[in-house]
Each structure stands twice: as structure tokens, then as C-alpha cells.
Symmetry: C2
Subunit: 580 residues, 2 copies
């Protein structure tokens, strides 16, 4: 296949009268933006996706600059015709950020006041300023709203800033491996990195552009420190171990050098980086990243997200220690608490933070499902849920429901269609989350035991837990959490006192049936329960049973239920609980 | 209480003729060692404990140097009269390491050949050299053997070197938060740190001792990087968060400085360190730590530990990312595989690597139990184990047994006393591990599901799993692992088909009894089993039942068993399995 060739374009922004007012009060009178655009803007302008790049990225997100280029743009695996961010379908824009050194105005640009490069005369910038420039660019390109904004790391911070600052403009927000602020640990590596550059004599207070040498040694070491934070301990162990090279990397040798490959690799990464990046840009952008803090600005994450309107897909990486998964879960928790539309999954990867540039199989499937998910009203659910109608009956229409252990979302789909319910699916499986999103249902990938703890009180009107309670470690804690999260919950469970179970036990065999289909040594059903004992548990713990239904698929079972022998006749129970 | 005042003493080592031959072939003709000693060497000399310090530590491990000192020695919480390393009982020695700058010969010492400080003329040293010097010191102090050697981090590496190099001399080895080598990730921080120092113009090729300024800036940044690796992300978040100071730390201010407390804290740590440590010592010792690698030296950890004779206590810290717990588990696995006497536990702490200098409650209890544990032959076990004698009968005498889910070791104690068995206890609880060690039984703190996977094939003659299988996630996997680890295993389990259980179920209640004492929603017994189904599982999976016993505490139960109704009459089953 021939390579698609694209070019980075420069555009002079039409600034408001008086210039671009920055967050800290300073003004830029001229701003040039280097950007790339792929695909075609629809007539109604509603198909635009903005891509935010990370710390040292640029506008070249996809395709090739020249036929002879070996490497395409940095997110080419994700963006292109027929790819997750489908350029046949969407108009995709990516620009170098303000403060950068890849074409957009930054410290190495000419200061119109002096005719010389800004250097440290460039104002301190914020993520807010960066996004403001992106908005001006999109205005100028005639984009009336964003179908989606997507980015990872510092790019993820920009997506959050977009959603918070322009709630009506942004319809979907995909935030990968990022957070509402950097952790103190992550800050320290940036702080030390900047100190490297500033203490390099060749930095010369930032005024090195017309000198013979810049702060290459300091910038190289800053990059080396940064680079370690993008990898994981496991990926470094796999990639390098403690293997040695025949000889050290040229220029690296000293009495205390080692021959470890990792030492050569780091030297090489540092040297390569120095050739492509400006030290002052590194100082400005890394400090900007350090200062980004939606909590400090709004008082809390909840307050920051109060007025957002977009749908969110939050993505974490299991081995990311620069933005560990807890930071993305903080975002998810707060969006759920604010009753927003949020999906979440974790990329299970050894690659560390860098996984957002590597794990395209997982990331691509999820981004595809999220961007291109159907309207739930038009989807037909699969599977034959025997208790579907009963559950629909037990849940109030037009409410917000959390379905714990949702699987692929078939029950939620029925609730959406039959009862006009909006809700969120919660499941442990990645495939299930993707299936939910592809049906247009928001879905969160979490273990039920852990997940319920993370969801705020009163975030929902009802929690559904069907055929899952027997697999959880503490049923009582689970019920308590459900009734904290919502004033009502519906629980469905297999009844171990069903007459067929009793007969089996009487004959000395643990029951294996449709409802209990596993052998004893492999069953995920770790807590067996009976209708009577479930009722007793509720009684003893002041949990109010508002409604209870009994299901049996055998004639004998139904007869026993009709005669009042529900503990004997029910194959499963369906209970609606409310706060006492 | 008045402070106990101690002094660091200097001793000129009696070197072999021709001087001290170092690992790399070079020779030191004079070696001075700075050491402290507490307590009294016993007449038989068998009560000496050697304490190994970490990267930047010194000989001052305990007590005070002067009445006015605010801080005692670095491990004072652990060492002293009545403390875990009891100076009323043991003769405790700690010395500054070779290459150091706290009194022992190092790069800042006078080179007898030139009359000037060595600087980089000092030879590259290894942990082996460091331990060799410690051995010469102990010889000179008249210590015929070490009751124990103990150390954390680089000190832990020294304890391993001691055990490997002097197997007859070292009776006990306590290795805390350390490993057989540094991980590639940990290496990188050292590599960058050394590059900081070497690229500081004031380092001057290491020849800065008579200059007005040394490489303070480089050493300070190296320390800052190192310091981050001693903390955990969680502890930094707790201690500093993203809080700001009123003003930056003096001398730290620049355009790109932040007011974050962590930035001031790091600057302060760097400056403080520069006053107390020599840059060349830092280069030599950090490189020595990087190069320590028992695997590279011996081919494998197993080979390195082949001839060790000491008892081991290996300690990990849950949040340590410099020496993550997997590294200590590697040591434990290999010692178990080599049929050595090894105990292990994990300090559950948010403090990161530094926890070995902070978590004295946990560390102290375990070190106390390990050092001062009784002779099992003299201990009386508690508890009334109904199946004690049956189990003793089923296990061959004079063999090596792993007791999975051992609790406080009562069963192992009986096996030791009645059957002359040696073995290792495995339990998840820290209290249980301490109880085992205090009875003189080696004990490993691991989850049974996870722990069995980590134990090498044929590391034991028999594995005992009593009243635990019903709490594990996969009984079949567990049995397979047990028969991989040993040619035989003994499994005891509650029989869910016991007639009283059946009656209970028949009445629609899940059974609660002595053997099954939990309510359904909180029971740890997640996989119920019956005698018949256990036998069936074995049959279907080619697992040979070499012996089976049935226990009942009721007359009816015993009668039923006598009549052949074992599945109905047994309250519990006891099965000996062997490879098919």
C-alpha cells in the first residue's frame, strides 16, 4: 500500500484585539500554530476529533511526511482510514502545543518585541492556555463542536481541561493514562530534570540560541530521568535485564560507567532527544504539567466536573507508575458521583506509561467501541434472560441504575429500552466493557467487591446485582454498599435450598444444575445461600425487603412455590431491598 | 533514663603479607576500619552479631555519641538492652564499609603511596571486598563465629555475601529489603546519579579534596534522585501531597521553581547530604551496589546458595520499589528449593524502601522471634488437635514437610517432636509467622494459592494441607502443585456430606457446626466438598489415594463409619495422596 503523505501546516491565529490573554495575565501578540488535519469536515461540522499530544510530541499524529520516512506519526496505529479514529469518517486535527518547539509559538520563537528568540522572556504557560489556543485554531478551521477530544499523559490533561472549560463544545472525552494533577512522586522527577537543565552552564539563563552549544548534557539527563518514568520496572527487566554490551556507548565511558545495556540505552535516548527538542520548551512544558491541578483550581475533582456534559472514556494502564491507575479511578469516581456518563477500563500491560503508545490492540478496540458505539435504542440484545421482565418490573422507570456484574450489558439494554433507564454497567471483563460500549452503554471495568467501595453514596437510584452475590467475598458488605450507593437495590441469587439441591445433598453429592453449573472444586460460587437465609440476613441487619419474587423452571418447583414452599420450590430468588 | 554513650573506634587491620588482595586484582597495603561494638563477647565467642549498614550509613548503629546528641545510631530502635538485637545477650559489631567516608579506608583516605587522598586512584571495590574486610575485623576482635549477620538494602546484600562466602562462620542471616542484584530500573537511578556527580565541573575528575569547592550540586542531585527511590509514591502523597510552602527553599529559586513542599524538601535533603558525605565515596559505593550480582557470579541464585548453612530470615516491604518483594521471594524460592532453613515475611508499610529504618514494631518482633526462638524440642504446643496423632502416623518420620496453612505451627511442632521431621510452615498471617519462629520453626508468610506456585518441584518429601483446601480458589490446582512439590501429600477437609450437614440442608438451612462454624455470607470456606466427591476428583485426575481416614466426633458418626457409610458418617476426611 502506498504511504499517505501529509504535511504539517502553519497558521497564524486570529487573536482577539490586544492579543492572547494568558492565564497569568501576560499577553502574546502573535501566535503561530503548527497543525495537521486528516479526513474531511462534514457539512454540519459535527465529525471533528481533536488529538492532544504528550510532553514532547508534535502535530504529526498520523500518516507519513515523505515517501522515504520509516516512521509514521506518533499515533498512526490508532488514526487512519478504517482505524479506531477513522479518518474516512472523522475530521481529525492535531497541533503542536503552545510553548512547544515543533512549529507552534514557544520560547525558541522570535519575540516580536525584540526580534530575537524569547528564551525565558516567554511567559509561563498553563494547560488552560494550551487548550485556549487549540480552541482558537478549531474556530479558525470552522469546527462548530468536537465529536471527541482524545489524548494521553499531558495530552490527557488537555482533554480534561477541554471537557471542563468547553462543556457544550466537547461531546466525548477520551483521557488515557493521565490525571487531574501529577503525584508528588512524579513531580520530583520533573523538578530534578529541570534542575539538570538550569544547572548546565550552557543553558546560560535560557539565552543559548545564538551560542555554539546549548545545555545538551543537562537536557539529556533530564530526558533520561523522564524516560525511566515512562517504562515499568517489569518492562525494563524484560527488555534489558542486567545484560551487558561489548563496550560502552560512545562518549559515555568513565571509571564509574558500567557496561549495562540500560546505561547505553539511556545515553542513546538522551543524545537522540537533544537533537529533536529545545531545552527551554522542556522547562516550560514540564513546569506547566507540574502546575496543572484541577483540584487546586476548583477545590475538588467533583467541583471541577460539576458542569461537564461530554461522555467520558477514562483509560488506565496497570503498570503505569507516572500516572498510576488510582488517579484515573479518582476521575471515574467523581464523574460517577456527579451522575455523568463515564466508561473506564484498564490496559493490562507491562509497558508502563508508554503503553498508551504501544498497546493498540486493547486501546484501539475500546476507543472504537466508545467513538462508534450504537444508539442503545437500535440494538438487539442477545441471550435469553429468564428473569429479564421480572427485573424490569422491579426497577422504577426513568431512573439511574448501576448493573453490577453486567456482562455484555443485555440486561441494561432491556432496562434502557423497556423502562427508559440510564445507567452504568460494571464488570470485571474487558470484552464485556467493550461489548457494553459498542451497544452505547457506559461501562466501568472493576471487580464488584472493589468497585462498589469506590462508588459514591447516592450516585444511583437503584443497584442491580443479578446472579453475582454468591461469587462475592462478603454478601453483607456488598448489600450495605449497594444501599449506600442507591436507596434501592435488586438482588437475584440461586437458591441452594431448592428441592433438587436438597435431594442431591441427601444423596451425598453437591448439586450441579443449570443454576449451579460447576463442580465443587472449580465453582466461582463461593458463598451458597438459600431464600430463607437471605431473608434472615436482611431481618437481622435491618435491611428492608420491599419485594421478593421466586423463580422455578420445573413444574414441581412452581407447584411448591404456589403451595407456599418458596425455600423448597425456588430455583432462584429475586429480592428488592430498600433502606430500612 | 541516661543516654548510653558509645564511641566509634578506629582499628588498623592486620593484613595478610603483601596487603589486602581485592576482587579485581588490585591491592590495598593499609586498611583502617571504623567500628562500634556493644555488649560483651561470650567466653565461647558464640554470641556475636554483625550489623551491615546501607549505602550512606556508618558504624554508629546504636546508642549516642554524646549526652547532647538528639539522634541515636541509625538502628537504635532495634539494637540495645532488652531490644530485638539484645546487647545484654549479644556482642554486636558494626563498622563503616570499605570505600566509605566515615572512618574506614576509602577514596578520601590518604594514599600511602602519594601522601595525598586517593581520589579516583582508589581501586574499584566489590561487596565481596567489603565483607572480606569485615571478616578481618571480626578475626581481629576474636570472634570465632557469627550468631547472626543482619542488614538492610546494601547491608542486606552484604548479609547474603557473608552467608555465601563464609557458610560455616555465619549461623543466621537476616536480609531486609534487599536482593541478589539491583533491578534494571534501580540501576538507572544510580547511573544517572553518578553522571550528575561526574558532570559537575567541581568534581574535577575526583581530585577536589584540596580545592575550595567540591561537586556539591552534582552530589546533591544524585542524592535527591536516590532519596525518591527510598520513599513510596503513597508515602510522598501522605507526607507532602501537592502542598506549597510560603516561599521556596533558600537558593532554590528560579523562574521554573515551584513552591511545592516536595521541591524544598528535596533541596534540603540534597544540601544536608552534601555536608555529611563524600562524592567519590558515593561514586564507588553506588557502583559497587550496581555491580553486585550473585546470579552473574554463580550462574544462578540456586548455585549461589548451594552450600550455605545458615538459617535465613528474608524480609520484604510491600511498598518498596527499589527492591520490590519479588526480589526477596526469588531468594526465598531458591533457598526452599535447596532445602535450606528459611523464614520470610513482608512488612506491610506505605513507607517504601525506608521502612527498614522505620517499621520497628513489625521488624523488631520478627527479628526477636528469629534470633531468640526456642528449640522446638523444648516447646509445648497449645491447642487440642483432634487429628494430630493420625496426621503424625500418615507422614513418614525424618522427612522434610511443608505445612500449608500452618497457623502458629502446633502441628509442625508435633511432627518435629513425634516424628523427628524438619519442615517449613506456610501461613498468610504475620502473627502466625512470628509464633512459628518463636517456637524455632522456619515459617514463610505467603498466601497458600500463591505460595504453592512459588515452591520448587521436589523441595519437600511431603506437603500437609489440613482444613484449608475448602478455603482455596482451586482445589485441583492446589493438589497438583502439592504433588509437584513433594511425592506425597496429606489433605484434611470437612465433609459436607456428613449426616448432620445433610439434615440441615434437608431442612433448608446451610449447616453451621464445629467443623463448618461460619454463616453463609461470611464463611472463608468457599468450596464445599464431600468425601465421595474428593475421591471422585482424585480418580478422574489420576491422583493416587495411598491412605484415607475418617473422623467423627459423634457416636452416630462413628457407627455409620463402622458400617461403611463413610460419606454419611465422617465429619472430616484425612487423605494421603501420592503421585500416580
Amino acid at each position: 500500500m502506498p504511504k499517505t503523505i501529509v504535511q504539517t501546516q502553519d497558521i497564524q491565529l486570529d487573536l482577539p484585539p490586544g492579543g492572547l490573554q494568558l492565564n497569568d495575565g501576560k499577553v502574546l501578540t502573535e501566535v503561530t500554530v503548527a497543525y495537521e488535519a486528516y479526513g474531511t469536515l462534514a457539512a454540519d461540522g459535527r465529525n471533528a476529533i481533536y488529538v492532544c499530544h504528550a510532553l514532547t510530541g508534535d502535530a504529526h499524529a498520523a500518516f507519513y511526511h515523505a515517501e522515504e520516512d520509516r516512521d509514521p506519526g506518533w499515533w498512526d496505529e490508532l488514526i487512519g482510514p478504517g482505524k479506531s479514529v477513522d479518518t474516512d469518517r472523522y475530521y481529525v486535527v492535531c497541533a503542536n502545543i503552545l510553548g512547544g518547539c515543533k512549529g507552534t509559538t514557544g520560547p525558541c520563537s522570535i519575540n516580536p518585541e525584540t526580534g530575537r528568540p524569547y528564551g525565558t522572556a516567554f511567559p509561563l504557560i498553563t494547560v488552560r492556555d494550551v487548550v485556549q489556543v487549540q480552541k482558537l485554531l478549531l474556530d479558525q478551521l470552522g469546527v462548530p463542536e468536537l465529536y471527541a477530544v482524545i489524548g494521553g499523559s499531558l495530552g490527557g490533561m488537555q482533554t480534561l481541561e477541554w471537557a471542563v472549560r468547553f462543556p457544550d463544545y466537547v461531546k466525548r472525552c477520551i483521557c488515557v493514562a493521565s490525571g487531574v494533577s501529577l503525584s508528588p512522586q512524579a513531580l520530583t522527577f520533573d523538578i530534578i530534570g529541570r534542575s539538570e537543565i538550569e544547572s548546565d552552564p550552557n543553558w546560560a539563563g535560557g539565552d543559548y540560541y545564538d551560542k555554539s552549544a546549548g545545555p545538551a548534557a543537562g537536557l539529556s539527563r533530564a530526558r533520561q530521568i523522564g524516560h525511566v518514568t515512562y517504562l515499568s520496572s517489569a518492562s525494563m527487566a524484560i527488555k534489558f535485564g542486567r545484560d551487558e554490551r561489548a563496550s560502552p556507548y560512545p562518549g559515555q565511558s568513565s571509571l564509574f560507567s558500567t557496561n549495562f545495556q540500560i546505561e547505553s540505552y539511556l545515553s542513546h535516548q538522551g543524545s537522540k532527544f537533544v537533537k529533536r527538542f529545545d531545552a527551554n520548551s522542556y522547562l516550560y512544558i514540564s513546569r506547566m504539567m507540574d502546575m496543572f491541578d484541577l483540584v487546586a483550581e476548583f477545590g475538588s475533582i467533583a467541583e471541577a466536573f460539576r458542569d461537564v456534559k461530554s461522555k467520558f472514556l477514562i483509560v488506565s494502564i496497570s503498570s503505569d507508575w507516572l500516572f498510576p491507575p488510582g488517579q484515573q479511578l479518582d476521575i471515574v469516581e467523581n464523574l460517577v458521583a456527579a451522575r455523568k456518563n463515564v466508561s473506564y477500563f484498564q490496559i493490562d500491560s507491562a509497558y508502563g506509561h508508554d503503553a498508551f503508545l504501544l498497546e493498540y490492540e486493547t486501546l484501539g478496540r475500546a476507543v472504537d467501541a466508545f467513538l462508534n458505539g450504537a444508539d442503545p435504542a437500535t440494538v438487539n440484545g442477545s441471550g435469553n434472560l429468564v428473569d429479564r421482565d421480572l427485573i424490569c418490573e422491579m426497577i422504577e422507570p426513568e431512573t439511574r441504575v448501576l448493573d453490577v456484574g453486567s456482562g455484555g450489558g443485555d440486561m441494561m439494554l432491556s432496562l434502557t429500552k423497556q423502562r427508559n433507564i440510564t445507567g452504568i454497567c460494571l464488570d470485571l471483563g474487558f470484552d464485556e466493557i467493550v461489548e457494553c460500549m459498542s451497544k452505547g452503554l457506559p461501562a466501568i471495568q472493576l471487580d464488584a467487591d472493589e468497585g462498589l467501595k469506590r462508588i459514591a453514596s447516592d450516585a444511583f437510584d437503584c443497584v442491580l446485582l443479578n446472579q453475582t452475590i454468591q461469587q462475592l467475598h462478603s454478601a453483607l458488605d456488598t448489600i450495605r454498599h449497594m444501599l449506600r450507593i442507591a436507596p434501592a437495590c435488586v438482588v437475584g441469587f440461586p437458591n441452594f435450598a431448592y428441592y433438587r439441591c436438597r435431594l442431591s445433598i441427601l444423596l451425598g453429592r453437591l448439586p450441579v444444575s443449570n443454576t449451579l453449573p460447576f463442580e465443587w472444586y472449580e465453582t466461582p460460587n463461593i458463598h451458597l445461600v438459600t431464600v430463607d437465609e437471605f431473608r434472615q440476613l436482611c431481618r437481622q441487619n435491618d435491611i428492608h425487603i420491599a419485594d421478593i419474587r421466586f423463580l422455578a423452571e420445573t413444574v414441581v418447583g412452581r407447584l411448591l412455590i404456589a403451595l407456599g414452599g418458596v425455600n423448597l420450590g425456588s430455583e432462584r430468588g429475586l429480592v428488592k431491598l430498600t433502606r430500612a
